[in-house]
Amino acid sequence: MGILDKEFSEGNIVIAKTDDLFNWARLSSLWQVGFGLACCAIEMMATSASHYDFDRFGVIPRPSPRQSDIIIISGTVTLKMATRIKRLYEQMPDPKYVISMGSCANCGGPYWEHGYHVLKGVDRVIPVDVYVPGCPPRPEALLEGLMKLQEKVRNESMIKKSA
């Protein structure tokens, strides 16, 4: 049971402030699963390395999915790999986020037509929060994607949404 499992039917100042605090904590400390797939993984590594430094945003790679908040699908997802990615995603504790990095993970990329073994978009197996286009995306693009995700987290709320 995480704290966030509780939903409130109406908002008040306490909940609003708690929301802000919790959202701030979550967006400031997005730990990533240390997991690379293909070409984009090299750019992801370059983003973590000295020149671009993912750590500035509080993103550190964790080897175990149990301790991470965000999974960056960096590269082509093949049919053989898709079931593993789904399992990996299920092993992560809530709240969890997904960045789909690069055209291959978004939609199959250059392999969309004849790729008999390529899954055309990782969103066919797991839900995606942010899509980063590019083949491969530059590290700046991935940073931008992360900031978009932070924006999304910032606007989350524990208040139950009325229909």
Partner: protein, 357 residues
Amino acid sequence: MIYEWLYNITGSSILSMFVVSLLPLFVFILPFALLAVLAERKVSAHMQDRLGPMRVGYHGILQTVADIIKLLQKEDLVPAATDKKLFNFAPLLVFAGSYAVFAAIPFSSIFIGSQIQLGIIYIVAVTGLVVAGILMAGWASNNKYSLLGAMRSAAQIISYEIPTLLIILTIIMITGTLSLYTLSELQTSYFWNWMILGGPATGLQKILYIPLMIIGCLVIYISTLAEVNRTPFDIPEAESELVSGYHTEYSGMKFAMFFLAEYANMFAVSAIVAIIFFGGYQSPFGYLGNAIGLHWLVPIEQFFWFTAKGLFFVFVQMWLRWTLPRFRVDQLMAFCWKYLIPISFVILLLAGLISLI
């Protein structure tokens, strides 16, 4: 000391005991662990031509606060195939073990959680709890990586306790005390009274002690490094081999407990090295408070010196971590049994002979 002072104010022994026992946790361990994690990230970043956390607060000073609040919110996963009781209990045991060490550590002459006469032995014994906790975590996780990590960890910690204890035995033999407070008081006034420079002994004896003590200090620092699973001895959680070792399956707050325990332990072992060889809370140059007649200043200065020494050794640990590769498990054991233990035996013997002079 603090306990008596509180007892005088409140008049209740239970209440004051309670406050005294919680004091190190809130005054020291938690803030230290938060700062140490941040420092680790900043130190490593600057060693690697990076900046480290920059976005959370000024130069990222709130980074670990955010991390902890985030870990609080995380779903507390208990995988289906685990032994649930042990799985839930293990992080508590590890945390309790590393917290209990602080009870006997003299932060200054008036701030000691509990002035146990057998202080050194108590610390070594309580560290054993950590091994039990780690084994428990590895076994209960029902994960092969965790199990391998836990087995390695148990073997490693138990082996490296032997040279640690032998060196401690040498010190006990020289000083004739088991109490950390007495040990610190023995090394009072100036830095040439520190154990690393022969302690309170005089003349030829002191000169003969110095090389032994320097080697002993290295041995004990290396073995304590291994006991807290830091690089180059971090094989129980070796990221590139065992994913993250015994805490692979832990998430959320339970993982945070392992994490905090690790950093608390780092300080604990650094403190032990500081107490035994570097005068504990004693200042190297005498006290400002005594010089200008403000005697209440002395304990504060002592606290400062103690933390400064402890933090310096923590920094060295970090420095080593980001410089050195890691040993393999058999090399690690060979290093302990083939080099450290014989060396510490020799030191024990020589120190015994010298003390007869």
